[in-house]
């Protein structure tokens, strides 16, 4: 009887293990084919995203995914002939998701870094972001580097990326004051209570210059702080990045990217090579 009990137990263990792996799909049959061929034959591109406004986020209804990267990826998948499948991931585990083939690309305003390049194949960059310096228009030409701003009073929004950039710079940080909002920084410079403001490039581009209420202010060309570029991350050694570069070039050529960027007010950040 004891042996019978034992046999039943072993049978149950084996059954549980078998059940556990029943959900697995063996993909090794595709191992010889290239990454892109495997994606093509599966008919879908699994895109790893996080909720990151304005790249990928939920619309008012709380279900529809929208955003620049959402539209961009959808348009690119149409060209590739595959269906996009957006998969929410944790940003900290993105490399594991990619290597374990849970996702095929990381497409979520992904900043290109040298460290990242060692584990990920990036496509060409399609967008950039930076912090810029805004001063009175008549002084804009005087400055070429942050050293020229040595000792001048600088303002930025408290806790902003601009503040981080200032604190990482020995000249800008000398006489720095934090204010409540990015728009306040412009008011400070306009009224003369501060010499320079550091703020988001997109915001500055939209807020200063001709036709705005800050027409007497200008962005200092040549001083780029915290400059970063966004690209699509593919598996190391994948051929997908080449395919995406081709598709991207097509989307630039036919104006699709431009249209999408306009929709999300990101035209100033677009890199069109």
């Amino acid at each position: 009887m004891k042996n019978k009990v034992l046999a039943v137990m072993l049978a149950v263990i084996i059954a549980v293990l078998t059940f556990g792996f029943a959900g697995c799909k063996n993909a090794s049959s595709n191992a010889a084919a290239s990454d892109f061929d495997a994606i093509k034959s599966s008919g879908k591109l699994v895109i790893g995203i996080t909720i990151f406004d304005p790249m990928n986020y939920y619309a008012e209804d709380g279900v529809t995914l929208t955003g620049f990267d959402t539209d961009f990826a959808t348009a690119a998948c149409e060209k590739l002939g595959v269906t996009p499948e957006f998969q929410i991931i944790n940003w900290e585990t993105k490399e594991i998701e990619l290597n374990a083939k849970k996702i095929d690309v990381i497409w979520n305003g992904f900043t290109v870094t040298e460290e990242g390049k060692q584990n990920i194949d990036f496509t060409n960059s399609y967008m950039f972001n930076k912090q810029c310096v805004v001063v009175k228009a008549e002084n804009a030409d005087k400055y070429q580097s942050t050293a020229d701003l040595d000792g001048l009073s600088v303002v930025a929004e408290k806790g902003s990326a601009g503040e981080d950039a200032i604190q990482g710079d020995e000249f800008l940080s000398k006489n720095y004051t934090s204010v409540q909002a990015q728009t306040d920084t412009l008011l400070e410079v306009k009224s003369g209570t501060a010499d320079a403001a550091v703020l988001d490039y997109v915001m500055a581009k939209a807020s200063v210059g001709d036709g705005t209420s800050y027409s007497d202010l200008a962005i200092v060309e040549g001083i780029d702080l915290a400059y970063e570029e966004y690209a699509i991350g593919c598996r190391k050694g994948s051929d997908l990045d080449e395919k995406l570069n081709d598709v991207m070039a097509e989307l630039v050529a036919d104006g699709t990217i431009e249209t999408i960027a306009e929709k999300y007010d990101l035209t100033a950040n677009l890199i069109t090579k």
Binding site: N26, S28, Y58, N90, A100, K101
Partner: protein
């Protein structure tokens, strides 16, 4: 975003939380018995194999086990487990069955050997001794530690968010990053509290019902 809209969306996540909880509970309760039997087996290789298994499962974080079950097959064998929920359930069921098995074992071993001997003297079979004498006492004794473990399971379901399963915590995190508001992250505490409250009342009731052999 309004309070009711947030609540409604969190309820979607709460459904997944409940799903993980109930499936894990109902699958690991019987599986735990199997592990107990293997663990208490007189067949030594099986005994040691099971003890090693228990050591590994109890000795590593559940979060790591979830990661291993989900990413491991893809990284090592290029075999894909597509469903994130399946990975969570497999990891949770194995983990909880192991903990339950130790509670069962403790309960069974707490019955004095004298009772087995008394049963034998009275001419009862081993099976009769186990089901009529040992088991009713074991069930009664393991209710408090089982209650403890089951309430822990409610909160452990939040670990599923490590592989981006949209359960309660992940649902709240999604709302936080989408709507730029932070209160939903704290508000989900209420869901866990209420659910654990219900379970506490349930376990008190069960303990009262099992209040036999008194005096």
């Amino acid at each position: 975003m309004s309070f009711s809209a947030v609540t409604l969306r969190l309820l979607d996540g709460f459904q997944a939380t409940l799903f993980i909880f109930f499936v894990t509970l109902f699958a690991s309760l019987p599986l735990g018995m199997v592990i107990t039997a293997c663990s208490m087996s007189k067949f030594k290789p099986l005994h040691w194999l099971t003890r090693t298994f228990v050591w590994i499962i109890r000795g590593t974080p559940l979060m790591l086990q979830v990661i291993v079950v989900f990413f491991g097959p893809g990284l090592i064998f290029d075999v894909q487990m597509r469903s994130r929920m399946t990975a969570v359930l497999v990891a949770f069921i194995i983990n909880y069955a192991t903990y339950f098995s130790e509670i069962y074992r403790g309960g069974i071993e707490s019955i004095p050997i004298g009772q087995h001997e008394a049963g034998q003297v009275l001419g009862m079979s081993k099976r009769q001794i186990f089901f009529r004498i040992v088991l009713p006492q074991v069930i009664k004794r393991i209710v408090p530690p089982m209650g403890n473990e089951i309430i822990t399971l409610v909160k452990d379901t939040s670990l599923a968010n490590i592989i981006a399963v949209i359960e309660l915590v992940m649902a709240a995190k999604t709302i936080v990053s989408n709507e730029h508001i932070i209160w939903p992250l704290f508000y989900i505490g209420v869901f866990y509290l209420l659910f654990c409250g219900v379970l506490t009342i349930l376990f008190n009731f069960i303990e009262k019902k099992l209040n036999y052999y008194k005096g």
